[in-house]
């Protein structure tokens, strides 16, 4: 079927089986490789993107539901040349190790900050439930607080 949506601000129409997970459309059809596959079962968060501003695990989101939606991936998180506060904080805290889980965490964090501009540790624990095998949670928590600061200072 034909599916039309906006991705990172650009209009796209693709031809795909509507039941294909959106993740594979993003990665293999649109060639945006920043969104990762970890489990395919909504269990790790590596594939997190935004659909109309909501954090969504794209491995478990059928492409047909993307019709008419605004989709953002890690490649579209920053506006032009200036880094998104989450990315800036991630750099300041030198968060990534292998890096594979990081786009998913950054997307989940960016969505969290839209809802809760100043998350407490409890908010972070409740909302950031992706998996990082390298164990970067400690730096991520610092980076999430730092991102909130940067974001609030920018307003």
């Amino acid at each position: 079927m034909k599916i039309s949506f906006y991705i990172n601000g650009n209009a796209h129409s693709i031809e795909a089986d509507g039941n294909t997970p959106l993740l594979w459309v993003i990665r293999d059809v649109l060639d945006l490789k920043g969104t990762k596959f970890g489990c395919g079962k909504a269990a790790c968060g590596a594939c997190t993107i935004h659909v109309d501003g909501e954090a969504v695990r794209s491995c478990s989101y059928s492409a047909k539901f993307a019709e008419g939606k605004n989709i953002t991936t890690i490649e579209g998180l920053s506006a032009g040349d200036s880094l998104h506060p989450v990315q800036q904080a991630w750099i300041e805290e030198v968060v990534p190790q292998c890096g594979y889980c990081q786009p998913g965490f950054m997307m989940a964090t960016a969505a969290l900050l839209e809802k809760i501009p100043n998350p407490t540790d409890q908010d972070i624990d409740d909302n950031i439930v992706n998996i990082c095998r390298c164990g970067t949670y400690y730096r991520m928590r610092k980076a999430i607080h730092r991102a909130a600061e940067i974001k609030n200072a920018n307003i």
Binding site: G34, G38, I91, G99, G135, Y137, Y138
Partner: protein, 722 residues
């Protein structure tokens, strides 16, 4: 507790065996099957550091200077998160005399000729390249200077080099300008290295060189690799333990949408399709007949992994520990256990391969570039030199990518269709076909003597294999060494002031693959020994920190161990016992000559163990990048906490389960300590291991703290309160 500091730092050079192949080097000696020889080999394997087994003499294999004045460093070591690319860039920049931003580190494809003979693993990348890479970089700098002298028609001695610019005689040339004009390089003798104190990048907390790309989501991992006109493959994999492929009914799969070809081999069946989903769907439609053996259950495995069963090997012995413990009264005994652990790295295994005629190219996340190449070449009957393995960033390694038959499978599929094929595991296949951390059972015995110190102690560990069965280990190792070096890593008694001690490794062959898992036996062995030390300290009525310090021998290793123990205790403000519902727990271990000690601060809330803070002291000898040493400590602490508190594979009706995150419980953000304080000591003159040693003490430290709060002695991982 004070002890005078040694005047000079300990030299690590004497530990480094520079003549041959890691474990292989230990096998060179003849007549080693006698127990006493085996034991000394075991002692050696415990502290010897493998040399780097690739080129250390040809700067041109390592460096490429572009006309734009950039230096490309072709790394034979892969980047899996451990920060090696950053450390190597620092090491090269200082001796090359360029800014670190001018260096771009990339994985060396095997076609470049810069091939690591062994693997990326064992926390050896920085330590084994510390000397050779500085020498290579210094030599490259001299080569550039010599060429500049030739171009400028002056004497090289009259030139100075600074930040990638050679000047003298009123002229200046950048490295890029020089490189452009060189037709043939001459390699001079290795110049003297700079004074370590003069280094601008080495020893500094430089941000990771891969940071910007990883934060942008732009880094290419194995699973992100692509080739033009690429198809997608899938291979049917067994879900049962020990299953062997017999035959397959592919009639339905062949008619599935998108299928290009069903590929039947003698040992596997796979399918190639136009997209990942089509390949997966078609694979699921193949009806495979597997020859499955016994219907294994967890109880069967537990029955096998018991001290007293399997083959015993005495790996350490001093005094008369056995005689004392067998015959004297008041011997204290305790048993500990650890479960089967999964790697659970986030990026699944797989490869993109293209076989064209007598050549093959494979892009893959691998820790064994050379072995991956040889296996592809052998399976396809190609010359090794005609197989180019291009490593991509690894979405976690942890030992899972030390065995890569998936490269060969992708290549076979590609050959069958004459196009590039990308073929990856799904998550269920990852869990079911992992090469697991083996389960262990430990029996510790000890007798206290005069002054409440240990008179005799013995550690028995029963474990599945770690190193045997790995393509990295020479077949000769097994008959000679007997015991599995990986399984007993961390299994020796490190308190060698004790007059009588002994360690025995019991070897068991399990029906499923067990192998290298970050830090190997260290986590389980340290959990057992350091929990037991805590129990003994309590029995002796002593402070557990002082109890340890009192029983460490006076030598270099002992000195360095005592220093990290003191540093951790001091930084954490160590105090014994529970206070306001919180308690500290202490444990220490030495791995690959790097001692490490943790103090954890724990509470129990709503019946759950919470780890609030970890203070870690580590002595890697010398820290090339203190910030990344910290990051490795943090990562080890969190991964170790996850394994110690949550993770467990079970065997049910012949299958390993669970097969997905969630049911395979792992530490999440909410479980990670909110405070991790790392103290780095540098009591040697060269960098040592970092990426695994901090995993050792974490399980025992948590269990020891839990005892102080609840009175429950948890002797089995994952730790569960009654």
């Amino acid at each position: 507790m004070s002890e005078s500091k040694p005047k000079k730092k300990f030299s690590r050079r004497k530990f480094i065996i520079r003549s041959a192949v890691g474990v292989g080097v230990l096998l060179g000696t003849g007549y080693v099957t006698r127990p006493v020889w085996r034991r000394s080999l075991a002692e050696m394997a415990n502290s010897a550091e493998a040399p780097y087994l690739g080129d250390t003499e040809s700067p041109l294999l390592w460096f490429e200077v572009s006309a734009e004045n950039q230096v490309v460093l072709y790394s034979p070591k892969v980047e899996m998160g451990q920060g090696t690319f950053t450390g190597l860039a620092q090491i090269a920049a200082d001796e090359l005399e360029v800014d670190i931003n001018k260096i771009k580190v990339v994985h060396a494809p095997t076609a470049s000729g810069n091939i690591d003979g062994m693997s990326t693993g064992g926390s050896t990348s920085i330590s084994s390249l510390w000397q050779p890479l500085r020498e290579l970089a210094a030599t490259m700098r001299e080569m550039l200077k010599n060429e500049a002298a030739r171009i400028m028609e002056t004497d090289a001695a009259a030139l100075t080099v600074k930040e990638g610019v050679v000047s003298g005689n009123g002229q200046t040339l950048t490295y890029g300008e020089i490189a452009k004009q060189v037709k043939e390089w001459n390699i001079p003798d290795t110049p003297p290295l700079k004074d370590v104190k003069s280094y601008k990048f080495i020893g500094k907390p430089i941000p990771r060189v891969d940071l910007a790309d990883k934060v942008a989501g732009a880094s290419i991992f194995g699973m992100d690799a692509a080739m033009p006109d690429m198809l997608y493959g899938a291979v049917a994999r067994p879900s049962s333990i020990g299953a062997k492929y017999v035959s397959a009914d592919t009639s339905r799969a062949e008619k599935m949408p998108g299928v290009v070809k069903v590929v039947r081999e003698k040992d596997f069946v796979g399918v190639v399709a136009r997209s990942r989903m089509e390949a997966e769907n078609a694979k699921n439609a193949i009806i495979v007949t597997w020859d499955t053996g016994k219907n294994w259950q967890s109880e069967d495995i537990e029955e096998m992994i018991r001290v007293g069963k399997g083959e015993p090997y005495v790996i350490q012995k001093a005094g008369r520990a056995k005689r004392i413990l067998d015959n004297e009264e008041e011997v204290f005994t305790a048993e500990y256990k650890s479960p089967v652990g999964a790697h659970a790295q986030l990026e699944p295994n797989g490869a993109v391969a293209y076989v064209e005629g007598d050549k093959a190219t494979v892009i893959i996340s691998t820790q064994v570039v050379n072995i991956t190449r040889n296996e592809v070449a052998e399976r396809l009957g190609l010359e090794k030199e005609n197989v180019n393995i291009i490593p991509a960033y690894l979405g976690g390694g942890f030992g899972r990518r030390l065995h890569t038959p998936n490269a060969m499978q992708a290549a076979v599929l590609s050959k069958a269709v004459g196009k590039p094929v990308k073929c990856f595991f799904n998550r269920q296949e990852e869990f079911q076909n992992d090469t697991f951390r083996p389960p262990t059972h430990h029996v510790l015995r000890a007798k206290l003597g005069a002054g409440g110190l240990i008179k005799a102690i013995e550690h028995n560990v029963s474990s599945g294999d770690v190193m045997y069965g790995s393509p990295m280990v020479p077949a000769l190792a097994e008959p000679i060494l007997g015991a599995d070096v990986g399984a007993w890593r961390g299994g020796m008694i490190q308190y060698r002031k004790i007059p009588n001690y002994r360690a025995v490794s019991w070897r068991v062959k399990l029906p499923f693959a067990t192998s290298w898992w970050r830090s190997l036996g260290l986590l389980a062995n340290t959990f057992a020994i350091e929990s037991f030390m805590d129990e003994l300290a309590i029995k002796a009525g002593k402070d557990p920190v002082q109890f340890r310090l009192d029983q460490i021998q006076e030598d270099e290793a002992g000195y360095r161990l005592k220093e990290v123990i003191r540093a951790a205790a001091q930084k954490a403000g160590w105090r014994d016992g529970a206070h306001n519902g919180r308690a500290m727990g202490f444990a220490a271990s030495t791995d690959a000559n790097t001692p490490c000690a943790h103090v954890v601060e724990v509470s129990v809330e709503d019946g759950e163990i919470r780890v609030h803070k970890v203070t870690c002291a580590i002595d890697p000898g010398f820290a090339v990048n203190p910030d990344q040493v910290r990051a490795q400590c943090e990562g080890c602490i969190i991964m170790g906490l996850s394994a110690a508190m949550f993770e467990k594979m079970t065997v049910k009706d012949g299958q390993l389960t669970p097969t997905i995150y969630g049911p395979y419980k792992m530490a999440l953000m909410k479980h990670a300590p909110k405070e991790i304080d790392v103290v780095i000591l540098e009591n040697a003159d060269a960098p040592g291991a970092v990426g695994e040693p901090p995993l050792g003490p974490i399980g025992a430290a948590i269990a020891n703290a839990v005892f102080r709060i609840t009175g429950q002695r948890l002797r089995e991982m994952p730790l569960q309160l009654a």
